[in-house]
Amino acid sequence: MDIALLEKGHRFSPVSVVLDEAAVHRYLEAVEDAALPALCRDEGQAWAPPMAVAALALRGLMEAIGLPAGAVHGSQEFEFRRPVAVAERLDSRAWVAHRSQRSGWLALAVEMEVTDEGGQAVLAGRASVLIPQ
């Protein structure tokens, strides 16, 4: 995908994401998160880390965009609508919400929504990225 050709309103192909038990374990170890395992123990539930769900959805999006190595993450917004269970199957959809060019940089804002198998949103977000031109 040629980033230079992305227009406002462009919709990326939906991406299916699943955080299985091994992936969650790997993530929690990597970020050294002790709070979520404690919450899961208290509730007797296996929740996926909300930021891991967000990272997985973002990864699919960034792969679709094909960001160059010099791209810079400018800002980020997330709303976590409900807890996501480990191994729950989700779909991520994203679209270009803003596009502008200035001083040799392309600024893109991409909004995303992650839904469960019933089509209910579990996460919404917006990422702003600066790409050198």
Binding site: E32, P49, A54, E77, F78
Partner: protein, 141 residues
Amino acid sequence: MRPVNSTSKTWSVGRELPSVSKALTQEKIDGYARASGDFNPIHVDTAFAAGTFFGGTIAHGMLLLAYLSEMLTAAFGRAWLSGGRLKVRFKGVARPGDTLTVRGRVERVQDEGWRLFMAVECVNQGGQVLVTGDAEVRLDG
């Protein structure tokens, strides 16, 4: 359902959230790359990163947000996972060798204390703000 660690009486304007500190290493950045699947060379390729504007590898922005999320999960439990909102700007970069601290403070309270608005940030050992923004939770969510 009430969140595990919070009631509306617990939080008032000005109260600080318990902070979280992490010692960042290249190994931890590499580990996050494996866990997230983000192998952008600016994070994991020291030779490549040395030749960039940053002069060396930097941590993933999402790793810093994971630290913020840990602090908010510890403070608000289920309420953070179910209705939590985060809006941040990346102001600086975290490098291997940095000691990072995430912290937050209640700035505003609504709905008789059931809805909290916080200022959150991630700073390095020199006090430089790397991430700044706002978080919101609904304790009756």
